[in-house]
Amino acid sequence: MGVKTGYSDEVTKGFLFWSIIWGLVAVLVGVLISFQLVFPQLNFPPFLTYGRLRPLHTNAAIFGWGIGSFMGMFYYITQRLTKAPIWSLGLARFQLWLFNLVIVLAAVTLLMGYNQSKEYAELEWPIDILVVILWVIFTVNILMTIMKRKEEQMYVSLWYIIATLVGVAVLYLVNNAGIPVSLTKSYSAFAGANDANVQWWYGHNAVAMVLTTPPLAIFYYFLPKSTGVPIYSHRMGIIAFWSLIFMYLWTGAHHLLWTPIPDWVQTLAMGFSIMLIAPSWASVINGYLSMNGQWHQMRDNYLAKFFIFGITFYGLQTLQGPAQAVRTFSAFIHYTDWVPGHVHMGALGWVSLILFAGIYYLIPRLYNTELHSVKLANAHFWLAVTGQLIYSISMWIAGVQQATMLHATNADGSLHYSFMETLTEMYPYWHMRAGGGVIYLVSLFIFIYNIIKTVQSGSATGETARATGAA
């Protein structure tokens, strides 16, 4: 980058700052609801009951922490890959402001019980409109930056970014279609089984377009940057990309196995879910092969650890997911604690590890300094992974045990256990999960402390200034 670039990283800093705040909120609420499940006295009605807090947890996590960091990182990555400055800095600044407004409104209204009830689409219609404006601004700004690019070839991260922009737009608009009756209340435009099928087309592809393609864009960009090794196969990246975005959209009904939606929709979902292993693992293998000859970095370079563990959990997640999509296995574990075990291996082990790595990579560069403490970053890593494994493993065991008990029958065909007998068996596991959550929370505090110290030791003019000056 010999030329004067004019990159602007101010909004990236802003998004990262706020996404960390929302991530902290998400985990704090996650720990609180974990404890509520074992100590119901911890519900403080009307605002702080489990039923209202759980959607706050998922929204803060997916939209505040996930999307917030993605927005910041996408602006950073897009400028570097196009060798062009943000198309409109003013719009980007406005976007940061609007993003925080949306998240604050979301938190307040969810606690007040304004809620469309569809999972991951809980926000009521006025906020939905703000979200749409937010997304249009983001999309236009990124696409215009790409249009004005000075580097003709678009690196794989940019495709994943483009797919995210289109995908989220289509999903969000359809599933939130509704009939407003007041400013705070609306009804879904779809009814019954139709509504369920639209919802899980959305819900599952939110996993695709929010919890898969953005972290992949980040992974493909920052892994080479952090380790100095290029991605092993560009061609494999291309094939994986197109087959991934093709197959994902067929599989929503694996959340509805055995429910009254048509059998053929369920069967298609099951088949495509299994096929999804191929494009998912293509990225995993691409990551592993890139590390060929460089595995010593797992010891020497703390960032490599985050990325390689992250992609490994992604690999495990995309094997477990297809298994859950098989009818016979679903009959067993659907609705049980097994599923939160699956969810949090992805949310904590894949999405969050990749985001942590991206932030660790960026902050020293944005503030023209070195990371305050690699030791603390390692402590963060091991505590986060420990907390996450305690969470997921305890929930898998809990899920299998509860499923076994729920299905157990006596010789006369009657059920062997009452519902309450299965519930009380879950309490020890839920205590364990809450413990895992606390460990994870501690790791998060270490991360935040390390970041604050790093920022304090730096100067406000980071890589932008350096890139402008240096050869």
């Binding site: 249009m147 089984a193 139709n194 975005i245 994902y248 059920l415």
Partner: protein, 297 residues
């Protein structure tokens, strides 16, 4: 071809959109033609009354669906647990045509509620919602005592119109002065009752002579006491003196008759069926316990 795409962002974007729309069209748009098809219609399924609809909206507001599902799957254990006594009491597509949004849920921290209507007397729900642990000691369901507040009926009519549900002025007036809890119980008592799954219920394996295998066996009574406290005390009282349910200490029935009552329940009188959830053996143990306390005052 792919090399070309990498230099053409607009084409890449459009192609990505097309690729996304293929699966979407087949698995999301096309099923509109089959789901809720007239042939799947069930005549008995009725829209919500104003009071029930308000109850449903409170269910949504409180996020009950984060812990409760509303679909019984066609699996042996699901049907036995959530549509007890029936063989085909699983959920049918035609039952949900008035549900905007659906409330099927994805997690069963608590039991499925698709067929909760009529399982308990209203009085049970009032007590349970206010203080779940008083009815089911180890439950982790939050207390919803605050639902005793008055129901806001200012937009009830607008809601009915928006959904196109029929209503009468009388029904609208009936909502006034009600509490949120009244609405919630009205909603819960409707759930799953529009199809006659209970009438389709088989009599259950009650053939053969109904003789208590634990007669005179003290151990049966000891376990029976525990079972009684977990399953029956909430309605019949810890001392069998009666509460929501009748007193059991002075029953004049034979053990065989009592067995039938407990096993099959007393439909619509608020005595739930325990055959599928407890099974024969445990039901006999409870009876041993009840008999052991016979005549106590």
């Amino acid at each position: 071809m792919f090399d070309l795409l990498e230099k053409k962002p607009v084409i890449l974007l459009l192609l990505a959109a097309v690729v996304i729309m293929i699966g979407t069209t087949v698995t999301m748009i096309a099923p509109f033609k089959w789901i809720n098809d007239p042939s799947q219609k069930i005549a008995g399924v009725k829209p919500y009354t104003p009071l029930q609809l308000e109850g449903r909206d409170i269910y949504i507001r409180e996020g009950c669906n984060n812990c409760h599902t509303q679909t019984v799957r066609p699996l042996v254990a699901d049907v036995a647990r959530y549509a007890p006594g029936s063989t085909d009491g699983y959920s049918k597509v035609g039952e949900f045509v008035y549900d905007q949004p659906h409330l099927w849920g994805s997690r069963r921290t608590g039991p499925d509620l698709a067929r909760i209507g009529g399982k308990y007397p209203g009085a049970w729900h009032y007590k349970h919602m206010v203080d779940p642990q008083s009815m089911v000691p180890k439950s982790n369901m939050p207390s919803y005592a605050f639902l005793k507040q008055p129901l806001d009926s200012s937009i009830t009519e607008r809601k009915m119109k928006a959904l196109g549900f029929p209503y009468t002025q009388g029904e609208l007036d009936a909502v006034k002065g009600k509490t949120e809890l009244d609405a919630m119980v009205a909603y819960l008592q409707k759930l799953g009752n529009d199809i006659p799954w209970r009438k389709a219920a088989v009599a259950g394996p009650l053939v053969g002579d109904l003789k208590n295998p634990f007669a005179g066996n003290a151990a049966g009574g000891v376990e029976g006491k525990k079972l009684y406290e977990e399953n029956c005390a909430q309605c019949h009282g810890k001392d069998l003196k009666g509460d929501i349910g009748v007193p059991l200490a002075e029953l004049k029935k034979t053990e065989g008759e009592i067995f039938t009552t407990i096993y099959q329940g007393l439909d619509r009188l608020g005595m739930p069926a325990f055959g599928d959830t407890l099974g024969k053996e445990k039901v006999w143990k409870v009876i041993s316990y009840i008999s052991s306390r016979k005549g106590e005052k």
